[in-house]
Amino acid sequence: MSIGAALFYIIVFPGLLFLLGWTFFVFYFSRKTLAYVHKRVGPHFNGPAGSLQTFWDILKLLTKESITPKSADPYLFNIIPIIVPLIAALPVILIPWTPLINNGHGILDTNYGVLGLVVLIGVEPFLLFLTGFGSNNKYSFLGGMRILAQMISMEAPFFLSALSPALLFGTMNLYDIMFSNTWLTTLILLPGAIIFIIAMLGILEQPPFNVPDAEQEIVYGFYTEYAGTNYVLLKFAEFTEILVVSAAAVTLFFGGYRGIFFDSFWWLFFKIVLIAILVVAIRASNPRLRLDQMLKFTWSWLTPLAILNLVWITFAKLYIVGV
């Protein structure tokens, strides 16, 4: 890999600029879609149909005073928001984004792609717990504790369901998984995909599992004390994680950038947007669960189902697909 290519990957695609563009897009998109369900208009006057709203929001937050509370741990409070987006953006190099880069493989073409994805996504909540811990605010701390509880319970079904394509195709290479996928295997993987998407809602703290930043209960969870630039960085990390996890879902279960007639990044993007619409629709119509209800749901339903799903995949591999 030449230095020029490496710089392009880091700065333009699928690195910084792409992720920023995605952040702008998804923030605007979710606000607009949610407003549509609310029978409102949403951002409208800033930019064409309000499309520049996020841009102004982020510029404003960057120029605001960045407060470090007196009682907070200044190092933890300010360093974690820099680390979080970096960790959140790392899985980007594993995912095959487009046929144009690296012959269609991910930038880092490894045989442990699934493992890498799952581990890098799983580190994130722990860092967010540290932000809550470092804020030294009761509500932030409660948010941090909740995110740990949520991580421990949600990651089991998340890992197990992410394993199902690897088990079916006998490889952990994301490129191979993507190209082994057929209509038949997509159907076989469908239960796994549903479990993955439910667990994904928990990992991304989306309703009905948005327990860690429950506004009405604990103000804003671990975000409570963050202002200005630090808040932008944390939000950037959150949206990057949304992108990475939904891209992982698409790559693992729905054939990544492969599409009808032609293979392109836009197919991947289209599928991600479909998942985003699903997430917003769930957000707009369902109230939040209680923490203990969520734990009960994951341990007594989702995790056993994910294990059963592995049994089903093994069965399908032996008798339907054929080894």
Partner: protein
């Protein structure tokens, strides 16, 4: 009724007489008999204290304490008066809280504002008033307000000091070894509104809730004493803007009763329509924010959309959206020049609600996640209703058949077809369902009243441009009256006292239901988890405006 009279006559009374259809008015001579009277009243079924209302007669050097005691299920009520001495040292009376827990906060309020000491109250403390009024009893007629206003900044600093003292004490005494702490749930909290709940938690579990109220205390009861009888509606309607017309109806009835005037049938029906529109506007927000407490704003937004159409009705009539000032003593304020156009606006609002109703049923009312959180959560039994006097929708959700519109019909409710709307379980979900059912009931009532007005106008019995207001005297005779209405949040009781040839009320006690609903929060939420606080708090439909007044 006779049994109650019998019981009362056993004691040394100045008088025992009937008052309205459901009340017995009595005055106790000796204040030391109070506990015995209450005890024997409890035996005949009068188990609930609606409110405690002291009146300061400074010329006669006495404070008259009024107890409004109710038998909720048999609709037999007792209005008991006792005199106490006005001097601060001798101004004390036995507390009835150990016998009737529903009197708890009402007694605290009387103590804080009038300085009546309640002997034997479990936790007598200053309450509601801000700390600069401690020991000064602002509702007494001889309170020197001008002098108190002089050092504003010092007063406010004393309030801050009190808060920080409390904070330091909690931080020092509460658990560094265990996972216990105190959360200030409000007043700067996304879901709280201006109230501060001190939540003692152990991890995620709530151990105790201590409500600190008074953040929107406007001393309305005192404010009306400086306004004339019509001007007072401005203060009265501001008790809570969510349901605006009903408090004005309550106040106007009390004034009309003292003046001895009867309003026209047209005005009565107008009061029904305005009152029900206000109730719907309030219920829509209540139901919406019930879901809002669980992080789902869609229902609130849809409801706000519908509510705008009902506010259009009020705006078309009075020119204001929520501060309508549309009802005054003597009838309703404005003539109805084009009643057909106004009825069309009402019809539009009703159509709007009915067009969305199917979607609301499918998405929200039957929502399984909502049921999983709210069903069986925070149950009130009929016994709790009687003990703590839960009123209105909260009581009806538990199956209690209480509704002032039926029990003691006012305005034109006696001529309309109206039934009790109840649910059985009394859990948080039922408190949502009852709200939703009551919206339907209100729409039905509005339709009936519109029909009656139309018939009346066609037959020439009603004249919408002239009948709206009768002449009220500027000066009122001496007297006192009690008036009750069914407000959106429950029973509202107003106790009005006037002196001879007065131009402004001498004393107005407003009893609003949210006080009791906040009082039971500790019982309701203790032992639940942190996530239940907003849900159960939202399910009580508390408005801080009428909590503090």
């Amino acid at each position: 009724m006779d049994r109650i009279k019998e019981v009362l006559n056993k004691f040394d009374m100045e008088y025992v007489e009937d008052y309205k259809s459901t009340w017995i008015k009595a005055k106790l001579k000796n204040k030391n008999d109070l506990l015995k009277v209450i005890e024997s009243l409890k035996e005949v079924g009068v188990k609930t204290c609606s409110t405690v209302s002291p009146t300061d007669f400074i010329d006669e050097n006495r404070i008259e304490v009024n107890y409004f005691l109710e038998d909720l299920f048999n609709k037999k009520n007792v209005w008991l008066k006792v005199d106490v001495d006005r001097d601060l040292e001798k101004c004390e009376i036995d507390s009835i809280t150990p016998l009737m827990p529903s009197a708890d906060w009402h007694e605290l309020e009387s103590f804080s504002t009038f300085g009546v000491k309640f002997k034997g109250h479990p936790n007598l403390r200053y309450f509601l008033i801000s700390s600069d009024y401690y020991g000064k009893f602002p509702f007494r007629k001889d309170f020197d307000w001008e002098a108190h206003e002089q050092n504003l900044i010092e007063n406010i600093n004393s309030i801050s000091d009190e808060f920080f003292e409390d904070y330091e004490k909690n931080e020092k005494t509460i658990g560094h070894e265990e996972s216990k702490t105190v959360l200030n749930w409000g007043p700067t909290h996304p879901a709280s509104g201006p109230i501060r709940l001190k939540v003692f938690i152990n991890g995620e579990n709530v151990e105790k809730i201590d409500a600190d109220i008074g953040y929107v205390w406007r001393a309305l009861e005192n404010l009306v004493e400086r306004k004339d009888f019509v001007g007072s509606i401005v203060a009265v309607e501001r008790i809570c803007f969510m349901d605006n017309p009903n408090p004005m109806i309550c106040y106007s009835q009390a004034v009309e009763e003292i003046a001895g005037k009867e309003i026209t049938p047209f005005a009565k029906y107008m009061r029904v329509i305005l009152g029900e529109v206000g109730r719907i506007a309030s219920h829509l927000i209540s139901a919406g924010s019930f879901f809002g407490t669980m992080g789902l704003q869609t229902f609130l937004m849809w409801n706000l959309d519908i509510r705008e159409y009902f506010l259009d009705v009020l705006e078309d009539y009075s020119g204001a959206r929520i501060a309508t000032a549309s009802i005054e003593p003597g009838g309703v304020r404005y003539p109805l020049n084009d009643y057909k156009a106004w009825f069309e606006t009402i019809q539009k609002a009703i159509d709007k609600f009915e067009s969305v109703k199917a979607d609301i049923d499918d998405i929200f009312i039957k929502n399984p996640l909502m049921s999983s959180r709210a069903k069986g959560n925070g149950i009130f039994t009929l016994n709790d209703v009687e003990e703590y006097y839960l009123a209105g929708p909260i009581a009806r959700a538990s199956g209690a058949k209480i509704d002032v519109r039926i029990d003691e019909p006012y305005a034109a409710y006696g001529e309309l077809n109206i039934n009790y709307v109840t649910c059985e379980n009394g859990d948080a979900r039922d408190r949502l369902y009852i709200i939703y059912k009551e919206i339907m009931q209100s729409i039905d009532l509005i339709k009936q009243a519109m029909k009656k007005i139309e018939e009346g106008i066609e037959s020439g019995e009603m004249n919408p441009t002239k009948d709206h207001l009768i002449r009220m005297p500027r000066r009122m005779p001496a007297g006192e009256a009690v008036s009750r209405v069914e407000w959106a949040r429950g029973e509202m009781l107003m106790h009005l006292v006037t002196t001879d040839k007065s131009t402004s009320p001498y004393r107005l006690k407003m009893r609003a239901p949210s006080v009791n609903h906040t009082m039971v929060l500790n019982k309701l939420i203790s032992g639940k988890t942190l996530s239940d606080i907003p849900l159960l708090y939202g399910s009580m439909h508390i408005c801080q405006g009428d909590l503090d007044r």
